[in-house]
């Protein structure tokens, strides 16, 4: 008998059956991966298990006995802890306080802060994350460091069941590898549920894989019994064919964008050119200045030096408004924080940037507004019951399509894409790649920042690798490899370009 059995779990949200009689089991000592497209119900299932959502039907059994899990507290009593995609840390407390939160060592009712610090430090070192300073406040940490603290905090509570909801969406590659080896080390008497979109990772760490689609079970498989292609087919329910569209042979020689000596507080002397219809991939480690380069180009960070020329005309993008009217668009890396207005209709999000096209003297032309929304819902195949659905109720992939639609509707010569497929399932990814090719075919130029090397290699016409705010190398996808890109990203190799 499995340690954990979830039987016929059903969860209904208004208008959507997120889980439809889903079964799932987990043994101690196993890493059980949950895979599926966005909206397949992976996160909902683990949230039911963690007591964050109340299920509408179904049972949860632990060691063969019915377990009452209706609130997060119930789940914690059963030693179920989860590491969420979104933060659960207190930003104004130190790392040590967060790790030990609610479990402070005390004497005579007073917290022994020295003990708290020491315990936390020992525990962090034991796990091999010695580089994390436990005295630092959480708001001072990078996203990746925050995610590590989140994991440490969960492990400190000695879980029986550990839920990891897409750590690969936020952790850089080297930390992810460290996490994998830790999970292998600790899994002896723990059952680990792991959600991931990355095939490499799924095949590397899983003992078993449960595939969900549209809130229903598809199958449970062992990684040794299946290959990537078949797993992908199971998730998507169809053959997606080639992930990356083929590269066009004949490229325009027309230079659209020329960046010279671009310098801000975060990036130094960045030079490059962008051709019409080109996809320029920007690779590098977290913190190398890739997002900051986009922000500098889009006028979110003041320039200290350098120039930007668009179609042989010098442009000064001091504010987003100026950048947009100069023909730039910026799909940011975090669609929830900076991309979408979540409590607003899909329709209104789509026309947010190109509002001038649907209005005259501030008055909205309802028909133009609806037509524009319908055009992009059809073109990008956005799955939404109506165009008036609030953006927050869409799945991640569809939300990203709304963000893209917004910038496509306003129209741009140069589109900056920062991690365009982060946290998005393979099917939608392939659609977005196809769209990017269509757009460049129509003459748009794209600068794409990505942490996924296969994406960089598969999509870019040319690759720039950044290291510590500078461009460390310029590479061509046909002639390079993941290893070479990493060597440039880590600063082991440099090649100056003009």
């Amino acid at each position: 008998m499995a340690y954990l059995e979830m039987n016929n779990i059903t969860k209904i949200f208004p208008g959507v059956k997120a889980l439809d009689s889903v079964n799932f089991e987990l043994n101690l000592g196993e890493i059980h991966t949950l895979v599926g497209e966005n909206g397949a119900g992976k996160s909902t299932l683990v949230k039911v298990l963690a007591g964050a959502y109340k299920r509408d039907a179904g049972d949860i059994n632990i060691e063969g006995k019915k377990a009452k899990i209706l609130t997060p507290k119930d789940a914690m009593k059963q030693k179920i802890f989860s590491v969420q995609q979104h933060y659960s840390l207190q930003p104004n407390m130190t790392v040590a306080e967060n790790i030990k939160f609610g479990r402070y060592s005390s004497s005579a009712g007073l917290i022994n802060w020295k003990g708290v610090l020491k315990d936390a430090e020992d525990f962090v070192n034991e796990l091999g994350f010695g580089e994390i300073d436990v005295k630092k406040k959480v708001y001072e940490l990078s996203v990746a460091e925050g995610q590590i603290v989140e994991i440490v905090k969960a492990l400190y509570r000695k879980p029986k069941i550990l839920i990891m909801d897409e750590p690969s969406a936020v952790l850089p590659k080297n930390d992810l590898e460290k996490l994998h080896s830790i999970l292998q080390k600790i899994k002896k008497d723990i059952g680990i549920i792991y959600i991931s979109h990355h095939f490499e990772e799924i095949f590397k760490i899983s003992d078993r894989i449960t595939v969900l689609k549209d809130g229903k079970n598809v199958d449970v498989v062992k990684p040794s019994e299946i290959n990537e292609e078949d797993l992908c087919k199971m998730m998507v329910g169809r053959d997606i064919g080639d992930m990356y569209p083929s590269r066009d042979k004949d490229k325009s020689d027309e230079t659209v964008l020329k960046v010279a000596g671009l310098t801000t507080r975060k990036i130094h002397n960045v030079n490059f050119e962008l051709k019409k219809g080109e996809i320029l991939g920007i690779a590098g480690l977290v913190g190398a200045g890739r997002t900051e380069l986009c922000e500098a180009l889009f006028g979110l960070d003041p320039l200290i030096g350098g120039s930007v020329n668009l179609k042989n005309k010098r442009v000064s993008n001091k504010t987003p408004r100026r950048s947009i009217s100069n023909g730039f668009g910026f799909v940011t890396e975090d669609r929830h924080k900076t991309g979408l207005i979540l409590p607003m209709a899909v329709k209104k999000n789509i026309s947010l940037v190109g509002y001038k096209k649907i209005s005259k003297l501030t008055f909205i032309n309802g028909k133009k507004d609806r037509d524009a929304a319908q055009e992009y819902i059809d073109r990008l195949k956005i799955a939404t019951p109506t165009m008036n659905q609030l953006a927050e109720y869409l799945s991640g992939g569809n939300q990203q399509k709304v963000v893209l639609s917004k910038w496509l509707f306003s129209g741009a010569d140069v589109l900056l894409l920062d991690e365009p497929t982060r946290g998005i399932d393979v099917g939608t990814k392939a659609e977005i790649y196809k769209l990017m090719k269509e757009l460049t075919g129509e003459g748009m130029s794209i600068i794409m920042v990505s942490s996924e090397l296969p994406e960089i290699l598969g999509m870019s016409d040319r690759i720039l690798v950044m290291h510590k705010g500078k461009i460390a190398g310029e590479l061509y996808p046909e002639e390079t490899s993941e290893e070479e890109i990493l060597a440039y990203a880590a600063g082991l190799k440099t090649k100056t370009i003009n």
Binding site: F13, P14, G39, T338, I341, L352, S359, I364
Partner: protein
């Protein structure tokens, strides 16, 4: 496919959706029915007219409050702005100024007061709660300074007609409320400006990255709140026939409660004109029916507070259940 399945489920939940979408309106109907059953004086022309007269000014203030709450802010100073505008119009009238000029001047100063709030929030980058708490005290102080702390009497029979006149059997002040509501509803629903104001509360950064000046639109919402507070103050002064510093006392809280009862949310981006009107009427009804039944003022306060909590509780539960 997913889409089709979703649509099927949508149809099944249609009745449920209908209830949850129009819950405020159903609640209003329920209150009207209960009131009619409890007191036979409720459905008299005089009582209904009184109800409208008493709540029209507050209803206008609540519209301004809605705009501010939509941006994710709060305006605690609207009551003080209304009092201040009332004192101003009374003082101007006392000098013998023609009433339209006096009213426009008073409303103009109230608008400037709103602009002041807006600039402090946007350019000064101070939390709306603190800004309007401080400016509430300031505006009250200015009102007291002008009136020397006394009531301001004036003689202008034409001006008093605003509060007394009827049109098609309905008080003029109620017509003004209706007109303002329509204007604000059009502003929010049919203009880009209104969409940006709502968007700022939903996600300010996304609006900024869309090349929109958030400073402009956030300031605009406070300024309009000041303007509407000014109109309400002038209307109420006409009804009271004198200028008084206690005219708008507590209005800010009732206005905020009305927006919340009507489905608004302090997180911003959520709330409607229709809901806010319903909120004002429900809160007004409760007071009205309890007065008719002779419930003491102490119990009235307790019951009113409970109903505000219940209304907001029901809408926040709805939100929790749908967190996908």
């Amino acid at each position: 496919m997913t889409e089709q399945e979703n649509l099927v489920i949508n149809k099944k939940n249609f009745a449920l959706d209908f209830v949850s979408k129009y819950d405020k309106y159903l609640m209003l109907v329920a209150f009207v029915v209960i009131s009619a059953v409890l007191s036979d004086k409720f459905f008299t022309t005089q009582n209904l007219t009184n109800l409208l007269k008493q709540n029209a000014a507050l209803g206008i203030v609540a519209l301004g409050e809605l705009l501010v709450i939509l941006t994710g802010g709060i305006d605690l100073s609207v009551g003080a702005i209304a009092s201040f505008s009332g004192i101003l119009v009374a003082s101007f009238l006392k000098t013998g100024m023609p009433w339209p000029v006096a009213a426009i001047l008073a409303i103009g100063f109230a608008t400037l007061a709103g602009l002041f709030n807006g600039l402090m929030v946007t350019v000064g980058k101070i939390t709306p709660f603190i800004v309007t708490l401080a400016s509430m005290t300031m505006f009250q102080g200015i009102g007291l300074l002008i009136s020397k702390g006394r009531q301001v009497f004036f003689k202008n029979p034409d001006f008093l007609l605003i509060g007394r006149e009827y049109f098609l059997g309905i008080p003029l002040v109620a017509w003004i409320w209706v007109a303002m509501s329509i204007i604000v509803a059009i502003f929010l629903g049919k203009t880009i400006m209104g969409r940006f104001i709502r968007g700022i509360g939903g996600n300010k950064e996304a609006v900024r990255l869309a090349g929109v000046s958030t400073i402009l639109y956030e300031s605009m919402s406070y300024t309009i709140s000041g303007l509407l507070g000014g109109i309400a103050g002038v209307m109420m002064t006409s009804r009271l026939t004198l200028g008084t510093n206690v005219l708008g006392d507590g209005w800010e809280l009732t206005a905020i409660a009305s927006v919340m009862v009507g489905g608004g949310n302090f997180n911003g981006g959520i709330g409607t004109v229709g809901g806010t009107i319903v909120g004002v009427i429900i809160l007004g009804l409760i007071g009205n029916i309890m007065n008719l039944l002779g419930v003491t003022i102490y119990w009235q306060q307790i019951i009113r507070g409970m109903i505000i909590l219940l209304a907001v509780l029901s809408s926040s539960r709805k939100k929790l259940g749908s967190a996908a």
